[in-house]
Structure formats: C-alpha cells, structure tokens
Symmetry: C2
Subunit: 153 residues, 2 copies
C-alpha cells in the first residue's frame, strides 16, 4: 500500500491538474474514490466519510461527486438493477458486468465484447452501452455438484 502522505500528495496533484481546488474534504473523497472504492454509491461514499472524516455533510458528498464527474476524474453510471447512481474511477468508455449472485459490478473493456449494429433503419449510432448479466466467478464443478444435491436428513 502507498504511504498515506504520498498518496495524498498524488491525489492533490491530480485534483489541481483537473482544475479542482484541493480542499480537505475533496482530497479525502478523491482518495477513496480513486484508490480503493469499488463502484460505490453516494451512500457508500457517505458511509466511508462518516468513518474516516469528521463531520462531512451529505451535501458535500454529492457536491464533490458532481464536481469530480465534471472534472472527468470519475464517471457516473446508471444501471437498471438499482435506482442508486454508481461512481466509477474508470473514465474511458467501457461496459459493465453485473454479477447476479453478489450484486457486484465489474468493468469490461470494450475490446472484450464485439458489438456490431446493423440496423434496418438508416440511423446514426453515436454511442453504445452494454450491460452483461450472469456469474462473474464461474462455479467450480465441486460447488455445482454440492448445490445440486438434495440435503439428506
């Protein structure tokens, strides 16, 4: 793990480079969002803040999330399985995979899914969003067999 102070300095640099004034609250949140959080919701971010920063308000969490999105340091992701917005530190275009067992979201590189629209209609496609659903960790044979077996009393 990176030393906390060095990490803070690096984050501060990234904020400045993106035109965001590095206040204490912003550095703390950016550190969480850019080095550690895994597709958190605003609620997840607030929870982290409550445990790691004194008296940060929910408004600051939302303000900062919006600011970091505008600065292109994080991306807003809206997926159909929840009404909560998810924040993603991967800012380049990519797709998502929803593990239906755990509810976890995984990023998928566009190169890993071939998408070729061949619309009958003469429309111009300017963007593509893809959500894959399934099991991210495929079950081992042993686990599958155990699950399949009826419990014997």
């Amino acid at each position: 793990m990176m030393k906390s102070s060095a990490e803070q300095a690096a984050i501060e640099k990234r904020l400045k480079a993106a035109g965001v004034r590095p206040t204490a609250q912003r550095i703390a949140l950016a550190r969480f969002l850019l080095n550690g959080a895994d597709h958190p919701t605003a609620e997840d971010v607030k929870k982290w803040a409550d445990e790691n920063f004194p008296k940060m308000s929910l408004a600051t969490v939302y303000n900062t999330l919006a600011l970091l999105v505008r600065a292109k340091l994080i991306k807003e992701v809206k997926l159909p399985h929840t009404s909560r917005v998810i924040y993603d530190d991967r800012v380049s275009a990519h797709y998502h995979f929803l593990d239906e067992k755990s509810g976890k979201i995984y990023d998928v590189d566009p190169s890993e899914v071939e998408v070729k629209p061949r619309l009958k209609k003469n429309a111009s496609v300017r963007g593509v969003e893809v959500l894959l659903r399934g099991r991210w960790e495929s079950e081992s044979r042993q686990i599958r067999e155990r699950r399949g077996k009826t419990h014997v009393q």
Copy 2:
C-alpha cells in the same frame, strides 16, 4: 382503427388468458398500453387515464402496471437517461435505441445488433442489455446544410 368494443373484447380475452381479472380500470389501461402507447412512463399513463377514464387513482396506475408486468403483457424498461421507468408492449428480449434529439425510444430487434462477449475472465453471461444512442432519423443533406449555415443578417 379497430372498433372500440371489439378492441375491448380482445383485450379482455388477453387479460383473462394471462390470469388477470379484467376490471374496468385494467381493460382501459391495457388497451392504452397494448394498442397505442409508445414507451410511456407511469406519468404518461396517468395523464392518459385522467383524460379517458373517470377518477382513476395513481395507485391503480402503478398497481396495474406492476400486475401487467408480472403477467408478462408488458415489460419494465429502465434506461440511464431518465429516472422514470418506461413500459414496453414488446415483451420478448430486445434492445433499445435512444434518439438523442427527440428523446424517443425505439425497439431494436436482437438480430439487428451482433453482440459477442469474449471475456478474459471465465464468467457465464446469462443476459445482455444494449442501449444505442444517436439519431434515429438520419438528417437529409439539405437539412444538414441548412443547419450548418450561419444566419446572414
């Protein structure tokens, strides 16, 4: 256009076949949803009801939408450009196209978009959702030229 009474009878039949008791409210809403509405939101449906059915409550609109979804007569669609749920009378698997100019949603048959996941990770994909964004009606050359031209005083 189909004669209203015949249409009602047909709708009533479909509701019964799907195991839904055909009350007056349900017949009216199903008629709108299955023959005429184009990806309406709950608000659109309520608005139609206010203009075409006496005193229907918002709760009935939501109850009936949920009921028709459970009965697989319509499908719930959640898209990232709005926080409102959209209802679709096409119930088989398909993709969507968002016209970014009009905000309108169009259904796209899965045969019209080739999607081939080739994940590095050994995951099992059980479903794919695709949203295309762009212009559904591609502009004619004339319109494009007119739009491009600076207005001369």
